[in-house]
Symmetry: C2
Subunit: 749 residues, 2 copies
């Protein structure tokens, strides 16, 4: 009997591992598959995970560093030693590093920011100062500016609307934004759009420091001198090497000049610690910051501008460096031209024990275990590709250049891309293509949570229920057969595969019980990780068990386990969301205009504070989502037709002839591509997926049905109608594609 995953959680005595026959396996293949999977899951070894981390995180190993290259060679050696066909693919990419960094308060008092993270006792690698990249934001433009300071909260567009109401203009000023609320690259982008001449980004202790818990080394959270490094390239435009958009950065590739590159910032940016930020913020006056803008520093947060005046200087060495992706292959025995991919980056900002080594070592254990299985006689039917990416931290560069280089082949052959990155202790997080939601649930039901000895799926579902904000959400979680997976925005190496090439992708990781504040700092190292995260590496083992099981199933399924009903279900929710968003926006704008007529803002304004009279705006037109709604319903019908045909085939009623399976699987693996358009999204053609994209003004945060949703959010009303039509056509194309896959299964019988 196949247990529904629902009953696994709701009846506690069924908190047991395993979920019956895997989707897409004919009965005669299933038994062998289960046997090999069980053997596989017995192999990943916490002691080896620990040892690999010790090696890989022993020294700073950023893109272009000596130890980074050494790591790539070490990974290559291990993969080869385990019997995998591995090699290094090298690209040549732009990577500026600091020549000069200066942040000083010049008025009304003087203070010079330390811009340094000191070594701490009990943490041996924190003292490798010479080899550490200094704290900075990569792809900041060069600059030397002195100007009044303005505090802009998270520095997202809504914050500037608020500043406008306070009568504060950032034109000609330096802004200081706190980390959070968006991906960091959004902050200098929006600041520059608003006329600012420089940008500081700091970690407020409210979001990332003592407010959350004890600070390092006493506890896991960010200390007063901790700084978050990070890239600020305009990744929502395109990730990868700024000089070779859309093509692989081979040595001889045709490159843009630096002046032509679109993804560098327009103004200089530097990140600072909250220790360095406090004197700057404390020197601001002007309006008191709105309550939700205030952090946890022991000061009154003012907005400015000034009297704090800041001198910000950032000068970079704009060099090109070699980037080393390590790629391993296990050739498929039956269908070698169908590829199942799993990648994790190996580069870090500094030592990067958590980010990315914790995920990298699990991928290595997966590779080692596959090597063992191969020796024991196992063969995948499809080709398995394992990748250790370089240059992720700078802008997904290693994965993007590789995906761009192999785009044609990948679009033809790739079944799915599985991504991992940082891992930790706690709950499974799984996000990605909804055609893989059912598959993800099945796999997660096989993996045991190391602490609670229940399926990681059950624990993830329990967490979803416990965190549910309303009875409605709880009902949805309880009623839905599968645990819903979130959509992917950006922030790791799945982006070129999913959103540029249209390859079904999933990102896996564990976390939530290992909170801390070492992200992109020198303290993300072996000492921190083994004290405060998955110190016994049992979640590292669980991750290797999970991704390896997923890879093995995708590699050997007779029929690829895509389920399009979860996709159509989810898309129908997105369609409802954008229609609701349009309605809410119309109502909000109506209310706004009504309040202007009522002189409400004037009546409540405190005459002792600045007051900016709001101006009426054009009412929001009624927008037409009918075509989109119809297309979404048709997608649902197509998905049901496919599911019916699939089930009939699996029950043996209409099994396709073996020689047709290959062709049918090619149709299935191409289904995600049907959700893309070659033209891409408005103003960012690199992003071709029309259901998932990182937000133009959120960065990592996903925008689903992005063309439509962002047009509404940015109040481009004509574009809303145009994009709704485009999205409808994309969904119609996907429905037709799914029907074309159902047909060989006998759906038209």
């Amino acid at each position: 009997m196949k247990l529904s995953t629902r009953s696994l959680l709701l009846v506690p005595f069924l908190f047991s591992i395993g979920a019956g026959t895997p989707r897409g396996f004919f009965p005669e293949s299933a038994a062998a598959q289960k046997k090999w999977e069980e053997r596989y899951r017995s192999l990943p070894d916490p002691a080896r995970l620990r040892e690999s981390m010790r090696v890989l995180a022993a020294e700073p190993h950023h893109l272009g560093s000596e130890y980074g290259e050494k790591n790539a060679r070490w990974i290559l050696a291990r993969l080869s030693e385990w019997g995998l066909d591995a090699r290094i693919e090298t690209f040549h990419v732009l990577f500026p590093t600091p020549r000069e960094r200066l942040v000083e308060l010049v008025e009304p008092t003087r203070f010079r920011a330390a811009l340094a993270e000191p070594p701490v006792p009990g943490d041996p690698t924190s003292s490798q100062t010479e080899k550490q990249l200094p704290s900075y934001n990569a792809y900041s433009t060069d600059g030397d500016v002195t100007a009044l300071l303005v505090y802009v909260n998270y520095g997202v567009p809504a914050d500037y609307e608020r500043l406008e109401k306070l009568g504060v203009d950032v034109g000609g000023k330096i802004v200081i934004a706190r980390y959070g609320g968006s991906w960091r690259g959004i902050k200098p982008k929006v600041a520059a759009e608003k006329g600012a001449v420089g940008c500081l980004i700091y970690s407020d202790p409210k979001d990332d420091g003592y407010f959350e818990g004890d600070v390092y080394p006493g506890g896991p959270f960010r200390p007063g001198s901790g700084v978050q490094r990070g890239s600020v390239m305009d990744m929502p435009l395109h990730p990868g090497d700024p000089l070779t958009p859309g093509i692989g950065a081979a040595r001889d590739a045709k490159r843009l000049s630096i002046a032509e590159a679109k993804t560098l910032t327009k103004i200089p940016v530097l990140p600072i610690s909250y220790g360095d930020a406090q004197p700057l913020l404390a020197a601001l006056s002007g309006p008191v910051a709105p309550a939700e803008w205030r952090g946890a520093l022991p000061i009154t947060y003012h907005v400015g501008p000034g009297p704090a005046k800041v001198h910000l200087k950032a000068v970079f060495d704009w060099k090109t460096v070699a980037l080393h992706d390590v790629i391993a292959r296990i050739e498929g025995s039956a269908w070698p031209d169908q590829w199942v991919l799993h990648g994790n980056h190996h580069d870090a900002w500094v030592n990067g024990a958590k980010d990315p080594v914790s995920g990298m070592v699990a991928l290595l254990e997966e590779a080692r275990a596959f090597g063992t299985l191969l020796k024991e006689g196992w063969r995948p039917k499809r080709t398995i590709v394992l990748a250790a990416w370089d240059g992720e931290e700078q802008g997904l560069i290693g994965s993007t250049e590789w995906a761009e280089t192999h785009a044609a082949e990948l679009k033809q052959k790739a079944v799915a891309y599985i991504n991992t990155d940082s891992n930790g202790r706690g709950f499974l997080s799984a996000a990605g293509s909804h055609s893989l939601e059912a598959f993800v649930n099945e796999v997660a039901a096989e993996i045991e949570d190391p602490q609670k000895k229940v399926p990681v799926l059950s624990r993830a579902r329990a967490k979803r229920l416990a965190d549910a904000a309303s009875a409605q959400v709880r009902k949805e979680v309880r009623d839905r057969a599968n645990l819903a997976i979130d959509a992917l925005g950006s922030g790791s190496d799945y982006t070129p595969f999913l959103q540029h090439l249209g390859i079904a992708s999933v990102n896996f990781g564990f976390g939530g019980e290992d909170e801390g504040g070492i992200y992109h700092s020198i303290y993300d190292d072996f000492a921190w990780y083994t004290r405060f995260s998955d110190g016994d590496f049992t979640y590292g083992r669980a991750l290797a068990q999970l991704t390896g099981t997923a890879v093995m199933r995708l590699a050997n399924a007779d029929l690829l386990p895509f389920d399009f009903t979860a996709l159509s279900d989810t898309v129908s929710k997105y369609v409802k969301e954008v229609a609701d968003l349009a309605k809410e926006t119309r109502e909000a704008e109506e209310e706004r205009n009504r309040q202007i007529e009522e002189k409400l803002a004037w009546a409540v304004a405190d005459p002792k504070k600045p007051f900016v009279e709001p101006k009426p705006r054009t009412p929001v037109p009624h927008l037409d989502f009918s075509e989109l709604q119809n297309a979404s319903e048709d997608l649902a019908r197509a998905a049901k037709e496919y599911e019916k045909a699939f089930n009939a085939a699996m029950e043996g009623k209409s099994r396709p002839a073996p020689e047709r399976l290959r062709e049918l699987n090619f149709l299935l693996l191409a289904a995600e591509r049907a959700l893309t358009r070659e033209e891409g999204l408005p103003r960012r053609p690199w992003f071709k997926h029309h259901v998932y994209a990182p937000g133009f003004y959120t960065g990592y945060g996903v925008k689903t049905l992005p063309g439509v949703r962002e047009a509404i959010e940015e109040k481009r009303w004509e574009e809303v109608n145009r994009e709704a039509e485009t999205a409808a056509r994309v969904l119609a194309k996907a429905a037709a594609h799914i029907r074309s896959a159902a047909k060989p299964l006998g759906s038209d019988l």
Copy 2:
């Protein structure tokens, strides 16, 4: 034409002052009334308000102090000088003051709290150290305890539920609670119920300090050494002298012994500044406090218990002091045995420029203006009583003892009690008996906002709209003819009148644009007030204009302006609220029990943190509110019947004979009494009102339909049914009473 108050706001060009014929005046009386009112409103004088504040706040003037008595005599002299019949009524009440105060950290390090507020430059009265009451909580019991410390957030019952989940027990410990979330007296009360042996209360800078704005003397907010004094007597049981509950504290009154007094705390309590609190809180470890418990100190908030160990000692001088209420009367010309009352306290914790002098000086200007009108020939038809209460800060003692002393006469004669207290710059706040809601709206439409030159009603409504949390709330505000007034809990001198005697009451004040943090500290003084609050005393004038207009209308209306439809409307909302609360509680308990069956808490618990398995609770029974709902609907019918009869009378269709007016007005003024029962509320018989009461576990916060609502909140299911029946009988009595008033107006014609 009588403009509806609604149109005053919604059509901006009608932001004009005045609202036509006042309710309850026959046409022939209205013209004279309007003329006298206009004259009245021309009299209050900002310069005199300022000068009175300078005098009254010149020195600390708490209950029992030399300057307090001096102030009472000064007020008496002014009232007499203006031609009013004034006298002092003296009571003798228990008022403990500190002999010894000690708070010290004894482990793991040593720190001794300063327990002192230093003088600040530019603030001359802040240095009157000898005359200032030290910082303490009055009616704390004596105590000398040393114990581990536990941080309990606001120290309300829900916080202890959270602590239980964290596995933390306060038995035998000293708790430290922050101010806010409830009235301060709740904190030691609940702490003692939970077994704590001592209680510290501190002002966290998040709620009351630099988080909100610049601190004194740089800005208006509470500095690091500022302390909130205040009473912690168990006022939700009964306010007033702890030794004479229910009777006036005359010199020879029969008194309880201190041991018999019910309203003293069970454990010692002291208030401290955030400067003093920081070392104590920083020395706690144990679980990190839940996010919403964390304040704005630059530390990680831990719950404890310990390792911080605290020594708390508080010893008091339990003396009886003389209390001086000043009472002035203007005898009514037609109906001297119908009394209109207005009171404001004159005592302060220290200099008390804002609390209470800002309100007191407005009452004095009202008295002076009445004196002028009297000289010009005006005579009120009813008797006006103006009161300057003493001992409010200790527990509404002056008003309570006076109300208890004159209870029989007041229950017979009182038309309404108007209360004022602290006043400031900003928006009108009006709360009280809903039978006066329409009246309050009419009066507030007459008063000009000093800054915006629109009616204070319009500005209050604009504020309500601007702050509305939802479209639903905005719709309610826009659709309702009158601006709804809030119900009164406790916190000022209306409590004995409204909730003990059942006299219709309203509390008026302005504020919201003069935020600060000097409440109950030495910095609440003339220097602070004139810099940061209503520095030009124009809102003081507006308050005098408002309350005087209200008093004059209540004193002279032919038919008292009660409107019972607002009462019945509001009561029907309360009935719906308690029924909804019962339903939500049942659903929440069901969900809780379901999650226990699902083992949800176990599944999501972090095994590295303490975990307390939740235990199932008895399901909530279905509860019967039908009788209450029927009674509420009958009240609505009675209110409509009265309103119809009243309108007919005012239009001259069925005007009662002049000789019947007196009797009819006696029926009207007694209507609020119909909402009381002599037996009072469960476990606190002093509180007799069954629609409004301060919460047993909130203190100042109101509980409407308190018998029913608190029984639900405290999960006493049998009591819910019993109290719902009781409340239904009270509403039925009120409906019958209102019908008895409608009858003489010809409602039965």
